[in-house]
């Protein structure tokens, strides 16, 4: 069965082709069948391959399948080849399985949309590209998948392109991530130059013998790759695109902007962990970025009104946890959190989507409320997801994954008290904003009428994901709770174990209890402020400090504003042509610079033939001057 690995990405691509070319002619049922079925088959195949991989691991614990040589130039010959090991297996499992559930959900959610076929075809294309990104055995193919998912993200954020804001959000996402991509492309080129090969495994094997830790080239490469990861995974300082990306339909947010694509950065770092281990400063940077991002996004999430924006900031924050784990060398803990996060965050987005769907595109939480009785299944599953997000002890999968990260942030040889404190405080904030969301949405008075009854296609995926969000954690538990290490044991051949430095089992238990208690404290505060006595929050918001904090956090720590001041304002003084608003200042600023140049250069194309002839003559003189005198 493992020989059919190529079918896993091929099936979604096939679905994409069918839907693109025949989408208009097929009935809605057939479209649903093709769209969800292709991913479903891929998921099934992945599970079979996974079982086979577990029962009889291939030699060397990896499987390589080469299809054909893509291109060959100057001794470099990247091929269309797939590399399957424990790490990529986990990723493709999550992508196909969660992807399948989201596809099923979409067949109901998007059914009435006129672009139904287009939507599913883009989703299929995305799944295919994502699988290529994960399975690629060389950097070129990986880059292909990397760009492919970026493209699909662009297409899907702007899916409802009739709203200009959506198109703008799509472009913002594409261009901001493109900044990271450029860094990554440079990193890849550095790798190519140094190793003269594109094969990832070869590079990872050669690197430790070629460089010692701290080698400056290795550091450069690690930082450039980190740049790509930061862009794709919406970490500081390139996180600004993700909240705007919520303009896309909810299943898109669930699949691309929560479960899979945004974690590509995590995958990139985990996959190239050898390089990062050779660059300790880059490792620290990963940890610090993770810690800073998780706190920053956590606070921003507390004040958002739009339910999807809360989840967007929460995603940024949770990926921050994964980065923190990677940064302290707890590779498998990071990947574990990725998997659990994919379950519960997809669940939350789908739940939010169901609420939005039922309330006829109402996204403001303050206009919701009391939905507990109206949408019981959504409520209970959403509650399960929230429990996992805020890491309620014992009964939620999120507890086990996040607890591991907190513990390693403390105990790893790269960990420290500060990192732990950040993660700990972040967990506290997480439970506040999570349950603020729950209370605002499902408790209180009903403010908007429920329009639509949800069908099975939307409810079953919610239930499956809820079960996984509860039970998924039991495959990896801490010392105090049985010490099951199925997950990290499985990953061990690929990712090394974390180096522990300080702290024993006793400390671990103490920390767990402290964390668990603060989680409950957070829930209590959320209940108190947003259910019991909302006036308190309202009053605080009226004070100057409150208003300031509110505005600061609402705008996501005013990053758009900072970029504005750093890049845009000096430029405005120069050109005085930029009179635009606060949002999108980064793009407008850089674009403004280029546009200013454009208006300058444009004047040279004035249609006057004498001017053109003069231009050529000047060019000739310059050319001659260079060759003769330089």
């Amino acid at each position: 069965m493992i020989d059919y690995l190529w079918l896993v990405p091929a099936l979604p691509f096939l679905g994409f082709l069918i839907l693109t070319f025949f989408g208009k002619k097929l009935s809605k049922n057939a479209i649903s069948f093709v769209g969800a079925g292709s991913v479903g088959l891929a998921a099934l195949l992945t599970i079979i391959i996974g079982i086979q991989f577990l029962l009889s691991p291939p030699e060397g614990n990896f499987f390589n399948q080469k299809l054909w040589t893509w291109m060959s130039v100057g001794g470099m010959s990247p091929s269309i080849a797939f590399h399957l090991d424990a790490l990529s297996l986990i990723f493709i499992f999550v992508i196909t399985f969660v992807g399948f559930l989201i596809h099923v959900y979409s067949t109901e959610y998007m059914l009435e949309d006129e672009g139904f076929a287009r939507f599913l075809s883009f989703m299929n294309l995305f799944v295919g590209s994502m699988l290529v990104l994960i399975l690629a055995d060389n950097l070129a193919l990986m880059y292909l998948g990397w760009e492919g998912v970026g493209l699909c993200s662009f297409l899907l954020i702007g899916f409802w392109y009739k709203e200009p804001a959506n198109a703008a959000a799509a472009r913002k996402a594409f261009i901001v991530t493109r900044v990271g991509d450029t860094a990554m492309a440079l990193g890849l080129f550095l790798l190519i130059v140094n190793f003269n090969t594109l094969n990832i495994q070869e590079i990872l094997h050669t690197a430790p013998s070629q460089w010692t830790a701290g080698n400056s080239t290795a550091v450069w490469i690690a930082f450039l790759l980190l740049g790509g990861a930061v862009g794709k995974s919406a970490q500081l300082p390139l996180q600004t695109w993700l909240p705007d990306a919520m303009a896309g339909p909810s299943p898109v947010s669930a699949l691309i902007h929560a479960a899979t694509m945004v974690t590509a950065g995590v995958y990139l770092i985990a996959r190239n962990h050898v390089l990062f281990e050779l660059a300790p400063s880059a490792m620290s940077a990963v940890a610090i970025i993770g810690a800073a991002t998780l706190l920053m996004a956590g606070f921003a999430a507390i004040v958002q009104n739009d339910i999807k924006r809360v989840l967007a900031y929460s995603t940024i924050s949770q990926i921050g946890y994964m980065f923190l784990a990677l940064g302290v060398g707890a590779w498998s803990a990071g990947v574990f959190h990725f998997m659990i996060h994919a379950f519960f965050k997809a669940l939350l987005f789908l739940g939010a989507g169901a609420v939005i769907h039922a309330l006829h595109h109402e996204q403001n939480m303050f206009k919701m409320g009391g939905l507990r009785k109206e949408l019981p299944i959504v409520f209970w599953t959403f509650l399960a997801g929230s429990a996992a997000l805020s890491a309620l002890p014992l009964i939620s999968a999120g507890f086990y994954s996040k607890d591991a990260i907190l513990w390693y942030a403390w105990s790893s040889d790269k960990g420290s008290l500060i990192l732990w404190a950040a993660a700990f405080f972040g967990a506290f904030v997480t439970s506040i904003y999570t349950f603020r969301m729950v209370f605002l949405t499902f408790w209180g008075k009903m403010k908007t009428h429920v329009h639509i009854h949800l069908g099975n296609a939307m409810q079953v995926p919610l239930i499956v994901l809820a079960v996984l969000s509860i039970l998924g954690g039991f495959i990896e538990t801490p010392h105090s709770l049985g010490h099951i290490t199925l997950f990290s044991g499985f990953l061990n051949p690929v990712l090394p174990e974390v180096q522990l430095n300080h702290g024993g089992e006793f400390t671990e238990i103490i920390l767990q209890i402290v964390t668990a208690l603060t989680g409950f404290l957070g829930i209590f505060l959320a209940w108190h402020f947003w259910y019991k006595k909302p006036a308190m929050v309202y009053n605080f918001k009226q004070t100057s400090l409150g208003t300031g904090l509110y505005k600061l956090w609402l705008s996501g720590w005013a990053f758009d504003w900072v970029y504005d001041t750093l890049f845009v304002k000096p430029f405005i003084k120069l050109s005085q042509i930029n009179k635009d608003d606060i949002v999108d200042q980064l793009n407008i600023g850089l674009a403004g610079l280029v546009n200013w140049l454009h208006s300058l250069v444009k004047k040279t194309q004035n249609g006057n033939i004498r001017w053109y002839a003069t231009g050529i003559a000047i060019g000739l003189v310059i050319t001659l001057t260079i060759v003769l005198f330089l």
């Binding site: 693109t20 208009k24 054909w68 040589t69 893509w70 291109m71 060959s72 130039v73 100057g74 470099m76 070129a140 880059y143 292909l144 998948g145 760009e147 492919g148 493209l151 662009f154 702007g158 392109y161 009739k162 198109a167 799509a170 472009r171 594409f174 261009i175 493109r178 900044v179 450029t182 492309a185 440079l186 080129f189 190519i192 130059v193 674009a591 280029v594 546009n595 140049l597 454009h598 208006s599 250069v601 444009k602 040279t604 194309q605 249609g607 033939i609 001017w611 053109y612 002839a613 231009g615 050529i616 000047i618 060019g619 000739l620 050319t623 001659l624 260079i626 060759v627 003769l628 330089l630």
Partner: protein, 481 residues
Amino acid sequence: MTMNKLITTQDLMQLMPFILMLAMPVILLIIIAIKRNHLFTWLFTLATFAAVLVTVITNFNQAPLNIALLTVDKFSLLYTGVFAIVGLVITLLSHDYLEKTSDHKEEFYLLLVFATLGSSLMVASNNFVSLFLSLEVLSVSLYSMIAYLRNQDRAIEAGLKYLVLAAMSSAVLLFGIALVYFETGVFSYTLIGTKLGQIGFTPYMVAGFAMIIAGAGFKLSVVPFHWWTSDVYQGANSPVTSFIATVSKGGMVGGMIRMFTLINGLENHSVVLVLTVIAAASMFVGNILALQQNNLKRLLAYSSIAHLGYILIAFISFGNGGTQAATFYLVAYFATTLGAFGIISLLSTPEGEAENISFYKGLYWRKPVLAAFMTLVMFSLAGIPLTSGFVGKFFVATSGVKADLWVLLFFLAVNSVIGVYYYLRVVVMMFSNKDNSPETIQCGKGISSGLIALVFIALMIVYLGVYPSGIMDLIQKSIIN
């Protein structure tokens, strides 16, 4: 100088692709003089290009032929073959277009074949004399092609602008050749290369090269010799514009590759410096000019300046797989550009060319297939993976990496980002609101010949993007030693 050997039958067979492009139009000319018939002329032209392609394929594995002015080797045959394919596509596109716009249609095909011949000969030239002559065959045919719709003032304007500036550049090129000839006493590239090895890069030589680069730069439309590009692209009709963007530039790139390979002209640092400056300036100026452009033909003109800048990067990293990369990029760019102009000419009506970007607003709702093609083309131009544009850029970057051209590569990366912006702008436009799109506009009913050409182009773009090895092997084989 004992190269004046007699031309044998065998030689004639090897020259067959060129002879065909010379003889068939002459026959056609006589036929036109007797009776005009557009359809017949069109089919005859298609047959001409097809025959050229066949002879190219049959001759491909022959040993290289070196006669007085021309070298017919794999390299020149490869280019000739590619030009013939492009010629075929342009002929396919031209039929419908001319049918709806022009009164006398037949001469166009003569000029098209002549111009293609000029480009093919330019690549086959082993000598400055034939380089100049074939360049002029190309240019003189182009003047008339650009102004072909002679009742439009914009066609005439474009033709005159091109003529005056091209003639001026030819004079510059000639003066450069004269300087080189003055110093070496020979015209043949190989002999100049030998001589250069003895005397080194004297001021005469570098000044000569600089002027040759300036003259060639005009045809390639690289900064600062790019001024004509947008006006001519806009003024000429779309099939001609696609010819200028592809065959005309391709001939010059091929000719320059052969010239610099045989002369070893890139061993001088100041020549490399000039090319570097030109490449960097072309990338930036081209992309910046394209940024807010609302006329699609002008946008493509500016983007072509940038793309030639990318090709120059490969050109500069010569021995490091650069020539192959440049050739591949050219082929990939041909496919893409033909697609873009093909769509424009299919959408054009006797009332005007479909060149204003607002015309494409909501195109998806009117012409979903054409919009899908255009999306593919724009993605390829932007260098998005699985399209020919991406692979081309990848090859260029790889050769640049090997030649340690870090600054240029950095510029390439920056410019790719800028490029994405305006290419996506077109895509976004096409998928924008259904309601405010212009009224439905007619284009050919049923399966027009242009549509066949477009399908072929789309397949090429994807083929080159997914399986470039096929073409690349061919290019590797036909490298000049």
